[in-house]
Amino acid sequence: MIKFASLLLIIIGLYGILSTRNVIKILVGINVMEIGINVFIIAMGFVNDGAAPILSVDNPVNVLKFVDPVAQALVLTSIVIGLGITALGLVFARKIHKKYGTYDLSETGGES
């Protein structure tokens, strides 16, 4: 079910990227889309009644049902890469603002 809810986030993010030419809003759209994709990957690793993949006092034996740890490891990677993209994009946005005095790409005098 969450699998399909995450599609909604991806669509909202894509709409945010396509519908505006403001750099900051495009970055927000990218982040919303990225969260949707992360939730989708996590949802793919879900097992009914599965426990979090950590051995502890409550779940001491590894023959119990656990959810997929690989999906969570991949999402950890994806979050960190997303952070790098956002930081780099924000600095680019500041560069654009410094040069043209606006965050709107359609007012920077480039093509269209």
Binding site: I11, L55, V61, D68, P69, L76, I81, G101
Partner: protein, 247 residues
């Protein structure tokens, strides 16, 4: 007009994804159990290199990887090479930020902060720092690890930046720590290559599952990752604060 077109395109994309997922239910996700022969099952039962008995928390000794947190065992042991690449990507992003921000004019006046923020930042900063260190040293036992712990350390420095307008982090020191941590990570990999024949192999004894000193190189690698990520993101924060705000 542009917004209508964008909306139509996004909805069409969503419909394609929805049809793709609902037609191939077997490919996306599991229902009641992980597949017996899948990689995930082997990571959970810690028998990638051959059949083992079941692993019991606090009792089993010398298990493969020996990490109680299976996500950590995937990140810092089975797929450690992948994590090395990930850390490199983060390093490249931080390098790009400091290159771009470094060419801007330094020394803008930051707006002052209130008394409440200044006082509470002084109390919160050591607590956040210690919590971050706790999280990355216990990455093989509890949820968390090097990346969340490092981010928490960086956010404690962000709090200092927000609270004190004359605060400047020792950026050069952070750059040195970051480079040192990255070199140590590769050095551990090369020691594994020399000692056991594979790059980044877990060559230390894995100990009892659930102890703080267990899981071989996993805690070592995660402390290194925590320090590296913490100093990297603090460097990004410092670069962003030092750049000029007015055009």
């Amino acid at each position: 007009m542009k917004k209508i077109f964008a909306g139509l395109l996004a909805v069409a994309f969503g419909i394609v994804l929805l049809i793709g997922i609902s037609l191939n239910t077997g490919l996306f996700g599991y229902n009641d159990s992980l597949p017996e022969d899948g990689a995930a099952s082997h990571y959970i039962s810690k028998d990638v290199n051959g059949k083992t008995d079941e692993v019991v928390f606090g009792e089993t000794t010398g298990a493969e990887t020996g990490s109680a947190n299976m996500v950590t065992s995937v990140i810092a042991n089975y797929r450690s090479f992948d994590t090395l690449g990930e850390v490199t990507v983060l390093f490249l992003a931080a390098l790009g930020v400091s290159l771009l921000a470094g060419t801007m004019d330094k020394g803008r006046k930051r707006s002052g902060s209130g008394f409440i923020l200044r006082t509470s930042a002084r109390i919160l900063f050591p607590l956040m720092l210690v919590t971050g260190i706790y999280i990355f040293t216990h990455g093989h036992l509890t949820p968390g690890g090097g990346f969340p712990g490092g981010s928490m350390i960086a956010s404690s420095f962000l709090l200092l930046y927000l609270a004190d307008e004359s605060f400047r982090a020792n950026v050069k020191g952070f750059k040195v720590a970051e480079g040192l941590a990255g070199t140590l990570y590769v050095a551990i990999g090369i020691v594994g290559l020399l000692a056991a024949g594979y790059f980044l192999v877990n060559f230390l004894p894995t100990g009892t599952v659930g102890n703080l000193l267990s899981a071989g190189i996993i805690p070592v690698v995660y402390v290194i990752i925590g320090l590296k990520v913490g100093s990297e993101i603090t460097g990004i924060v410092a670069d962003m604060f030092n750049e000029e705000v007015k055009a």
